[in-house]
Symmetry: D2
Subunit: 338 residues, 4 copies
């Protein structure tokens, strides 16, 4: 961490700050600049609070050099993490995991039909929302427990582990018992109580990036889960908010090589929510595979026009099968498989 | 709501969509354009899901004309709402409510000293965080229940209603019993389960705008609380995320006249979190009053340099008193008082 | 175009607006809504100015249905445009054009060495900045005319058409004479006088997307050039500004399928400026090819560490050759070639 | 400037970088961290190019401590700059300069009527666009030279210095001769050739902030003009692009105290373009005055509904007069006058 103090700061104030930092067991180097005095702080600076240092009237700027996350940091864990989701491996250098399913679980027939299609096409997990975060209180909020039951039946029939979104700590037990991969949605990426709650489990967690969050904030949210003792975190990019209006969000594929550089956690791409437009899903999926993604999360529906939510971004089962076929060819070029 | 369909859409598809909408009890007007066919939908369109209509391959665009919120909408409630927080009125055309207090409750002495200062300076409520949303799991997370107890003691001694942030539904009862104004933080603005939970109470709620949320999304979150039966909602602007780096966030003061145009709910401004810099708090507070704000939420600390969190944005008690004095003079010019 | 007027608008005001629009040769359909009156305007609405309509105090909202661009619109030009840059074709369904070269032309030796490398690796054009847009007036501003001369010599020796950025209309003649593909930089995407100036030429133009511009604004800037009579426009995505700090900008690859849907113009991707980090360039290039890009614009330097500008994002010649080789394999999968 | 190098960087590479920096006449301090080695660079670091240092494969991060601007920096020029615009003073601690006028000059009658109204209401300068930056090539582009002539006639009759936007260097002479305050528009804030051109004059320049630019970039653009020898720069905030859709842009009033802290240049606020909505102009103007603005730039029209451009954001002459009256009362409270 680097702290710059204003020119003309009294020596007693400089001494006070140095003393404060050294008392925390950190070493301090001082550089006298032309218009600023700069301190370099050496040691585990995650224990320092930048904002309280900035409160000092003589401090001009505080800059972190070392990343504020540890358990998610590749520096301290050089090899790729491979997360086991009820037998399906996510991460590492081989198989790319393709997860398919509807935005919302609607009926038992619907989810069984989609599960069958996802399985036959080569998908390895089934996604489906039972509890839905909707911007309007008047919109369909999900089938809740019944939705989870329908997913379990589909899992039983087709052998696909299930992924579903947990929105609130009062359903933690239900999800820990029935769901194979617990999704934390973009709007809850900084719902710290929810992160702490899933951190107490051993169940794998799919952590979506917040709509306007940086990669560092995202990794800090992964750190929350891991600090609680749950290392089974999979990161999922689902588009960030930008000024563009032709797409719902802007899919940031540069996270793929960057997350792999900064962290050991697997990275999965959700082009459906990112674009909000099924016509863009195939090309963005192929791009994600070419860039090195460890998995894809794709909305698939047996009847998109009559979907109860997010129909505009859902692939038909046929289009999903085509996507996997084309994706496999790209995967082979980059030394992987689906 | 306006739906535009592509040129060349088969008549049977047009008929199907018209039929679907009319079956929902809405009226449809068709306009034949040069390159598009456009439908106007008349009636209560809050029941239509834009995204499922967009899933139709013949649909080009869907545009809402009427706002998607009802209870928060001034059209249906022309007079200003005045919210009573344990005797302190917020909203309407007279008094501007100035709320002061530290980011975090730290010790009983600290919160009593600040409460005394806030009271003497002319503040009408005491804020203080007992549960803190922190980006790092390694940062101070708040005194929790003990913090609420300290606030209650300060309330008892100085008669100031207390404001504190609720982060999770498992503390709902505690907050309903002890806190006078329940704050929903920016990161939880779209934590829909939390919104529903406070919607079941009659206790007033201070709803902060999310870091990257539009006013419409914010009003939809207010709608969530009101749809549950709790009309006591106060909106609070605390800065939005922009590319600017000299401030922590960008304070959007245009919300003041706009929220008053679109909604009947009171609007309070938090310049401390918005700017992240105590040197900007006074001028932004005066600006907020000049623009018509119904209240201010100001971080005040008896010893900002040693604050356990957010010291950089806290005013001293002296500076807070000066702010109120100057603010009162501005308030008189715009026909109000503090 | 859709215009909504407030409930309670006097009939005379409605009549006045209808009359105003009909006098422009457009047809008007009126829909009476519950809380709004909505007009649909049919005909060539590019002649209407939304903002002056919004000035009417009775008008609530104005929404465009038809795109505001014509010449760049695929509706009126269904087949792909193929732009001929001194013999190199860009666009269409076959070859992907890979353009390489340094950020800045530095010396004759440098540009010759790089041109040789680009040519041997399979690049088809040479890029190099002679006039540089730099945020600091104290930074290197480019070799100017001498830089153009060095590029011409490289073109002569290696037969590669040259691409360079035009920053100001006073160099229009120089660029028309010597440069094969005139680049309009991101910061000049809405420098309308410059767009008009290159619109008077027949020389191909590479139009970069502005840092915070939408695709519609970008296509409107293409429209400016085409409205002047120059149809030879190639669009180039180079990343947009977001909150992310690990990358310089966020590369928006969804433009590839979307621009192809909305427009007939070719689309080229610049991953070097987008990411600002050479370690991300290869994976983003492969992603762009998988998504259907018509070309790549890559920074290549024979000695990146000593580059006079943008060294951090430059590939070495060896890495550039590897990128082309891998990219070709991806191109074959999607039915194209490099 | 702080440079951090990766752990394990060979000593020869460290020595090479130190040598490179010392050869530029700068001093280097080395801090050995736990996972990084950090250099502090002391001296005039504006001569170093961050990006070329980042190209070094051993470099992890480069951070500036000192601001990259000098002439615009208050550190080197502690007193407020007061700019004289043909006798009207802008900046300093007394008068707030209110500038009014239409978006576009339309007819001689229009501009004379508005000039009369602006003068009588207490405005001190007349604004009016003769060359207009329009996103559509099919929209009205301004009266050009005729517009300047109409403005000159209005100046002659009412004695108001005139402000107009220069879009291209080929009109530099015309503006230097006839216009009192040359406006550089938001879209040209980083049109570096235009900045250099006005830097060669002594004529005052009103530099608008770009739509997505930071304050530092804005000050760097001021630095471009001042580096050329023209110190007469007035900064103008006109709203930045955010996700909000109820306003055209988001007016960032925190620039007022911040620009005054970082720079000595005067700061003027344009609430008309920022909000795009005349109903918000008065409250945002009062807020700007309360926050300490040195001036206001207000769109005024004698017939907003029939304005040829931007009617939606124009005040009537009556409303402009009311705004000045109310603004004067606020100005008195903060120790200034209009």
């Amino acid at each position: 961490m680097i702290i710059s103090m204003k020119k003309g700061t009294p020596q007693t104030e400089i001494d006070k700050l140095v003393c404060f930092i050294e008392n925390k067991g950190l070493a301090v180097s001082l550089i006298l600049g032309t218009n600023y005095n700069v301190f370099g702080i050496v040691g585990d600076t995650t224990i320092l609070d930048e904002k309280s240092i900035r409160a000092n009237q003589y401090v001009d700027e505080v800059t972190r050099i070392a990343a504020p996350y540890k358990k998610a940091n590749r520096i301290f864990h050089p090899e790729d993490s491979v997360i086991d989701v009820s037998g399906v491996k996510v991460g590492g250098q081989e198989k790319i995991a393709v997860i398919g399913g509807p935005c919302s679980v609607e009926t038992q027939e619907q989810i069984l039909a989609i599960a069958k299609g996802v399985k036959e096409a080569g998908g390895v997990m089934l996604r489906g929302g039972a509890y839905k975060p909707r911007t309007s209180p008047y919109a369909f909020q999900g089938l809740e427990t019944v939705g989870i039951e329908y997913l379990c039946e589909a899992k039983k029939q087709y052998g696909l582990p299930i992924v579903s979104e947990l929105m609130s700590i009062d359903k933690l037990e239900e999800f820990d018992e029935y769901v194979d991969l617990i999704q934390i949605g973009a709007r809850n990426m900084q719902n710290f109580n929810l992160l702490k709650a899933v951190g107490t489990l051993t169940k794998p967690v799919l952590l979506k990036r917040g709509l306007s969050n940086t990669m560092e904030e995202w990794l800090m949210s992964a750190e929350y889960i891991m600090a609680g003792g749950n290392d089974n975190v999979i990161l999922c990019e689902r588009g960030i908010r930008t000024f563009e209006r032709y797409t719902r969000n802007t899919l940031d594929l540069s996270v793929i090589p960057l997350i792999k550089e900064k962290s050991h956690l697997p990275i999965v791409i959700d082009p459906s929510h990112a674009t909000g437009n099924w016509r863009l899903v195939e090309s963005m999926s192929l791009a994600a595979i070419a860039a090195g993604a460890d998995g894809l999360l794709i909305e698939v529906h047996n009847d998109p026009e009559h979907a109860w939510s997010d129909g505009a971004e859902s692939l038909t089962i046929e289009n999903f099968a085509t996507l996997i076929e084309k994706g496999r060819a790209i995967a082979h070029v980059v030394g992987r498989d689906i």
